[in-house]
């Protein structure tokens, strides 16, 4: 029996580079969720009115809700492509632990959706007249919070990967689980606007991140095994 060639980190890199390569060759997967994010944020001034103070007040919530929704939009394709062409089965039969494979896929998803979102958010925040002091808080909450969205959302994606038209079901399953991140992130941004320390909220989001990163891959692996049954 041949000894397995690759270290765990090498397996992680293998899956990560493959997913990134695939996404970069099909740029729609990256740009569509990002455009969605921009459009959703634009809808709010159109729906509520361009009054500066109102917009500044709702800015943190709007940015974060839009981030949640565009994260959901991109989650659908996390496992669907692999499920449809049989690559998921290949991964399930790999001698390497499913934990690493799943971990790599979710990190790839975050790099392709959460990270661009983080980079474009300041521009959108400016359009909503967000308070100056909040920008750093917004950046940090997005940095810590969007990976949580990817990991927790991946559980829902794994559960619904075999379901036809599973996109709406995915939203129903995942949005309640996103609520804690939403609450603490928007609170941190609001607190920053009042020039008060927001370390507490960041710490809690950090704790959620650690919990999600360590526990979610197990749930995701079980869900994938059930879905390919």
């Amino acid at each position: 029996m041949s000894a397995l060639n690759l270290s765990y980190f090498a397996v992680f890199k293998l899956i990560l580079t493959r997913d990134l390569k695939l996404a970069l060759r099909n740029k729609d997967d990256i740009s569509n969720p990002l455009l969605f994010f921009v459009i959703v944020v634009t809808l709010f001034p159109l729906g509520i009115g361009p009054e500066s103070n109102t917009l500044a007040k709702i800015a943190p919530g709007v940015i974060w809700v839009a981030a949640l929704l565009s994260s959901l939009l991109s989650l659908d394709r996390l496992f669907k492509g692999d499920h449809e062409d049989g690559s998921l089965e290949l991964m399930l039969l790999s001698p390497y632990p499913m934990f690493i494979i799943v971990f790599a896929k979710v990190i790839a998803h975050w790099l392709l959706t959460g990270l661009p979102l983080m980079l474009i958010a300041p521009v959108l925040a400016a359009s909503l007249h967000m308070h100056e002091l909040s920008y750093q808080a917004m950046f940090l909450t997005l940095l810590l919070g969007t990976p949580v969205l990817s990991f927790v959302g991946a559980i829902g994606a794994a559960l619904t990967v075999g379901v036809k038209k599973g996109g709406v079901l995915l939203s129903l399953l995942v949005l309640p689980l996103y609520i804690p991140v939403l609450i603490f992130a928007t609170s941190a941004i609001d607190t920053a606007a009042m020039n008060l320390p927001y370390d507490g909220q960041l710490a809690i989001i950090g704790a959620l991140l650690v919990g999600a990163v360590t526990l979610a891959p197990f749930a995701i692996s079980s869900a994938l095994k059930v879905s390919t049954n």
């Binding site: 029996m1 060639n5 690759l6 492509g81 690559s87 790999s94 001698p95 095994k225």
Partner: protein
Amino acid sequence: MSSLPLLSAKKLTCIREQRILFEHLDFDVYAGELWQVEGPNGAGKTSLLRLLAGLSQPYDGHVEHNGNNITDVAEEYHQSLLYLGHQVGVKAGLTAEENLSFNLALNGYDASAAEAALQEVQLLGFEDALASHLSAGQHRRISLARLWHTQAKVWILDEPFTALDKQGVAKLEALILQHIDQGGCVIMTTHQDLVLAKSRCQTLKLEYRYF
């Protein structure tokens, strides 16, 4: 030669969408054996192969590899198993060589052997073609290329001859014979009549159950 069967189904029961496909199935596959699973459509051939590979969980019973339950020795079993299912596992966005080297690496083999393996399936010259530009037959040949570069003892092949021409079928049959001569075992389903391997082939017939 070990007296333990390479693969063993113990009281395997498969229920799909509230229909019993088969119940309390017992059978053993020893090294050097070639088995063909036969039966009408819907009888459970693919389900049986997936259960043996460990992709699906049986309703009752279990599968053993060298005497150990495959759920207990999953890592070792995955190293000695090669499963080719209906779907080929080829990504349209990657080239032929990238697909194959990913598959090889994911199973613990040297990814640089991809080019040589592609030669075996007459895809040399197509290594850098994106799989989206290749035909279904070529996709299948990419996934078959693994067979020429594997140390897995147990081969579970679901309709491996699909989309292959006569030459390809003959080459694959020869490879299967070579594999079982070297102490491996093969369990497969196919709609085609075997030519070279017919004499060595044992059959497991599944019947269609209405309930």
